[in-house]
Symmetry: C2
DNA sequence: CTAATGCTTGCAATGGAAGTGCAATTATTG
DNA sequence: CAATAATTGCACTTCCATTGCAAGCATTAG
């Protein structure tokens, strides 16, 4: 796939180094998708990415995201809309590590889902015999932009 | 649809009264599905119900569950598997009321999802400007039955 | 530099779950 | 019993997730 590289080269170099550190190949598609995610403040669906890159194949986007997920570059968010969303992991975010989970906010008005990375999930107690490995917490309501009006 | 009523009649009468109090009609299908849910300790998917009542149409099961949901007889659970699950509301469970939310536990081993009705969700703080209306919390790990071995 | 290898991409197709329109059936009410 | 309203079953449709295979491109060994 040929793309016009109208994107910041300095940034790109950094991303390339980042990809190398994650031991994945640097491809145009991956760079573009990474950049797209980095520019968004909200979690996106596969369809969002699809619409942003209409020339690319859905499968490629899908597998790119899956690759990112495996390498802990993005994390999946299940916000209860039924559609899986994705967002870049923050610096130092260790999504694989159970204790590092932040919560997600889903706005019922604008339908956007945001990572509240500063808001760690409190310790949840589970009954005797249960072993907690992972916690998913989604708060639904009205986001700051929608409530401000 | 004709069904063999090989089920406890005394129970059935109670369920009928319950349905009446919820202002929904008593039908064979609804009684059977309610009984099915009551006998399960875990949240079930539409497919689970489908497999249990192979003679019934999927649409009927689907709409029955939707009716139950509207009348706050069952509540939906989104446990992150991507498939919506349902469980009976407990006595006094007010799923419509945001403050009454309990957490759910999803076992990564047996793949079952359980309502931990005794475990209320702690108050979650959201940033300035955000309005919390609803909280969904799913803990994943190993359940008591699977960890006991 | 070139060939061999392996990862990446695109196309086509599949599968599963959710949801809807309509007609037929069943229950309720007057 | 007749009229009305709710419920059920069938046939589709839509949408998202996922996979197999072949072609293309990048990396490595020689």
């Amino acid at each position: 796939m040929k793309v016009v590289m109208d994107i910041n080269y300095i940034n790109m170099n950094e991303i390339e180094k980042f990809f190398a550190s994650k031991k994945i190949r640097v491809t145009a598609m991956r760079l573009l998708i990474y950049k797209f995610l980095a520019e968004k403040e909200v979690a996106v669906t596969l369809s969002d990415i699809e619409n942003a890159f209409e020339k690319a194949d859905r499968t490629t986007l899908y597998r790119t995201i899956k690759t990112f997920e495996e390498k802990a570059i993005v994390h999946q968010i299940d916000d209860g809309t039924g559609i899986t969303k994705y967002a870049l992991c923050e610096k130092g975010c260790n999504c694989e590590i159970e204790t590092d989970l932040h919560l997600h906010f889903h706005c019922n008005n604008c339908n956007k889902t945001i990572c509240l990375t500063d808001h760690k999930i409190p310790q949840i107690k589970v009954p005797e015999g249960f072993i907690s490995e992972n916690v998913n917490l989604v708060v639904k309501g009205i986001c700051d932009k929608c409530s401000g009006q």
